[in-house]
């Protein structure tokens, strides 16, 4: 009996099929929301699923000069990391499948694995566009990672624990953290957009400049796995931020509502701005993002030391 639960958790819920299907649904919702904000109709409900199935059915072309093991293996590692990360977040409002002290750090690193895999995949190929895209992806990783971690640390400091499940439980019983630390919320949400390479932070994948960035040479199965990995990360990231800042996720209805609201805000932010150049992104993060996150943390540490209970 002890071995059945982990296998179910990996394959069906909360990782595996549930989060794959959920990722596709959230990608559709994101695209539909952006379309509505741009005064157009957007795709039908099965579009992301159709894209995924079509890509799986296509031939995977392995270009000359790449390391074939890395080429085929990197998308699998990226998807695996994203799926593993979803084991530790309160998916669908239920308690995380596995939790231990310090799983916040592990989850954040697993979520960054995708970007590292994209960077490696781009550096692997000989294509100019891939190299430029990989450089940009890794540059962006270095710039938003610190503020994002600091912003997620804020609720952890207040809750006094590194365990995501316990932080979730803390958020449910206390005042919503978005009220207590609004700056941290903004940094975390924008950091999530940077991690997922959503516009305006899509310089690593700028369609009009470098075709498709690091993923230019990918086709067929590899591309399908990268794309669905990104959707899974979207779902996991939204769950994490709404669990921390929007008063915790206690049941599936709240899960859908809160992550839906976050998705709406993200879609709004995506449609309002032009794409930032990579040097502007780095400048923005290191000058404004990191400072804001640090300031927020400072305020929190001072408050906690003074014993103010929130």
């Amino acid at each position: 009996m002890n071995t059945v639960f982990p296998i179910l958790a990996l394959l069906i819920f909360p990782s595996g099929l549930f989060v794959l299907a959920g990722g596709l649904v959230y990608e559709w919702a994101d695209r539909k929301l952006i379309a509505q904000l741009q005064n157009r109709i957007g795709p039908r409900w099965f579009q992301p699923l159709a894209d995924f199935v079509k890509l799986l059915a296509k031939e995977e072309i392995i270009p000359d000069g790449v390391n074939p093991g890395l080429f085929i293996g990197l998308p699998i590692v990226a998807l695996a990391a994203a799926l593993t990360a979803s084991l530790y977040v309160p998916m669908a409002g239920l308690a995380p499948a596995f939790s231990f002290q310090g799983d916040l750090v592990v989850t954040l690193y697993l979520l960054s694995m995708m970007t590292i895999c994209i960077g490696l995949a781009g550096a692997n190929t000989n294509d100019r566009f891939s190299l430029v895209g990989a450089t940009r992806a890794l540059t962006q990783l270095f710039s938003y990672e610190a503020p994002f971690l600091l912003a997620l640390l804020g609720p952890a400091i207040l809750a006094g624990t590194w365990n995501i499940g316990q932080i979730n439980a803390y958020s449910q019983t206390h005042l919503w953290m978005i009220v207590v630390q609004p700056v941290g919320f903004v940094v975390a949400l924008v950091g999530l957009m940077g991690k997922l390479e959503l516009p305006p932070f899509d310089a690593p994948e700028a369609e009009t400049e470098i075709v498709s960035g690091a993923l230019t040479e990918y086709s067929g199965r590899g591309l399908a796995l990268f794309r669905i990995g990104r959707d899974v990360e979207l779902l996991a990231g939204l769950t994490l931020i709404s669990a921390f800042y929007l008063g915790g996720l206690s049941n599936p209805i709240f899960f859908v509502l809160k992550t839906g609201v976050l998705l709406l805000v993200t879609a709004g932010l995506q449609s309002l701005f032009a794409r930032l150049r990579i040097d502007q992104t780095v400048g923005l993060w290191w000058r404004i993002g990191a400072l804001l996150a640090l300031a927020q943390l400072l305020v929190l540490i001072v408050l906690k030391t003074l014993g103010v209970s929130l």
């Binding site: 904000l37 741009q38 109709i41 449609s271």
Partner: protein, 141 residues
């Protein structure tokens, strides 16, 4: 310096219907001057062929069955036509006009793209000549 100058557009669009026209379920009526498929009225044609001389893409041909009794057949290549309307302008007797309702001309077969206009008897005679062994549907045949 504003951040998000299109905010007003984005917010209003969220609450109103989107601007995508759901063709083919919703079709706008075409304006009167739309230059759709060409139609020919054989009753007034005198066979001057001014329309054919100025067609930029050789889309119309006049096949003369009998010049004296004015029996003509007009062969119109719908796929070659550029819908410029020069033939309509050239005709002094207003035999030609471009439809403003018949503009969905796509087809999966080649047959709809060659249209024969004329009195029924004339067209039948021409096609009979074309399908007879050794015959062809041109002026020489």
């Amino acid at each position: 310096m504003t951040l998000g100058a299109m905010l007003s557009d984005v917010l209003t669009s969220f609450f109103k219907k989107n601007s995508t026209r759901r063709y083919p379920f919703e079709k706008l009526p075409a304006p009167n001057r739309l230059r759709g498929k060409l139609f020919w009225d054989p009753a007034k044609c005198t066979g001057c062929q001014l329309c054919i001389k100025d067609c930029p893409s050789n889309a119309i041909e006049l096949i003369v069955l009998d010049k004296v009794s004015k029996r003509f057949v007009l062969r119109y290549h719908v796929d070659r036509c550029t819908y410029c309307g020069q033939c309509v302008v050239n005709c002094r007797f207003k035999c030609l006009n471009m439809s403003s309702t018949d503009w969905e001309l796509a087809s999966t077969r080649k047959e709809p793209f060659t249209v024969y206009y004329g009195k029924d008897a004339d067209v039948d005679a021409l096609l009979a000549k074309a399908t007879a062994p050794g015959g062809s549907a041109t002026n020489e045949g």
